[in-house]
Point group: C2
Chain length 244, copies 2
């Protein structure tokens, strides 16, 4: 499985994804699930993927036009005039890949070739935008009321996001929030695993502010993981007692 | 959907279940999902149900022998010699009901007639035991390493259970823990709703220690819900800051 979160802040966009893929518990691998297309000063796109790995790899390869010889590659995602058009292009590519892989099954609910994507970014002259793209190729956009998207194993890490997310928070606070959300998920579900990929995008910068990988031995992640567990227990103990 | 938890403590067993059922968001009802068979001094059984409501109601009706005239009812669950046999009886009843409802589909993974049950209790002369019973009629038992079972919408409320459960905790602490776990679930998923049913069973008492319904306006639940949300935010704020 997978866990990815894309978060809208007043300051910009924050993306985090895990790197574990599994086809059964005896076939676990590490794969990047975060992809970027960045033309500094003009456009920055971040794509995160959950679902069938063959599908998501094919989508990324097609978006990068790896079907063509290296010198002829001219990804049309670098030419679309708007984020909306970028989401349409990614959605169409996803739908086409699923259709091709499953001629009999089609992109219906039970197809094992399904994938769900989060696309965020900005094009010069317009606002930063964040989309969740479904296997059917359609998509929804984040808004003030729904300022984040999760894909993959979304449930364990959702309560803290719902409670602590605040669009006014700083990038540092948002990273902390995502680490707590990921830690809750990792603790509860073996199919989500370290390392994590983190990307910060600052509104109107039209460039990646920070992109880094949080490894197994990352001291800040360990600190958060240990402290959060302890703090939860202390907080829990401090709540008023039930009277039988 | 549903959320039920059965918890083993050194002191006894704790059960909590919600009461919301839904067949689509426009068809929401309130149903009890916790059932008891209690012969003080001899045996106490608690059953909690998740899944298809027609299936779980049929299972309970058959266990209570409501197929017979009232004066002839002599539920065999009150005669089985061991908790293991009680779990077998419940499992067989569940499998039979599913089979009957779905002659074509059978009790396979995609059948909409599925249900999952938690059965706990004690019979005089043996230890209290806790089982999770699958739609196929087979079951697993709780142990020191796996001291609780969840059924229904299990993921949102799992991280706090994993972190704060301690078999040595008192009944009062266990109720607090379950309320936090249920509150996280209710906040994140509309298909789980108040009121909640709570039952406490003390080892070797062979009677129900406490059975109560936690209503929408329960002051302790509101206190926990409000305080936990605030405490989470405070705890989160107190964690060390990420350095960009």
């Amino acid at each position: 499985m997978t866990y990815c979160v894309g978060l809208c802040l007043d300051k910009g966009l924050v993306f985090m994804s895990d790197t574990r893929t599994n086809a059964g518990v005896d076939n676990i691998s590490k794969y990047r699930k975060m992809f970027t297309w960045n033309v500094p000063g003009e456009r920055t796109f971040v794509l995160m993927t959950a679902g069938n790995l063959a599908t998501t790899q094919a989508v990324v390869s097609m978006l990068e036009e790896r079907t063509k010889a290296p010198e002829e590659r001219n990804p049309s995602i670098l030419e679309v005039p708007s984020m909306f058009q970028a989401a349409r292009l990614v959605g169409k590519t996803l739908r086409d890949v699923i259709k091709e892989s499953a001629p009999a099954a089609g992109p219906d609910a039970e197809s094992p070739f399904r994938a769900t994507l989060i696309l965020g970014g900005q094009i010069a002259g317009s606002e930063p935008r964040l989309f969740m793209i479904y296997p059917e190729g359609n998509f929804v956009e984040a808004s003030k009321e729904t300022p984040f998207f999760q894909i993959g194993e979304t449930k364990y890490g959702r309560p803290i996001l719902v409670r602590a997310h605040d669009p006014a928070m700083s990038f540092a606070e948002a990273v902390k929030l995502l680490m707590v959300s990921f830690d809750s998920t990792l603790k509860a579900n073996l199919s989500v695993g370290l390392p994590l990929d983190l990307l910060l995008y600052e509104t109107d910068s039209l460039d990646i502010l920070k992109q880094t990988r949080i490894e197994e031995d990352d001291p800040y992640y360990s600190l958060i993981s240990d402290n959060w567990g302890e703090a939860l227990k202390t907080t829990f103990a401090s709540l008023p007692q039930y009277r039988l």
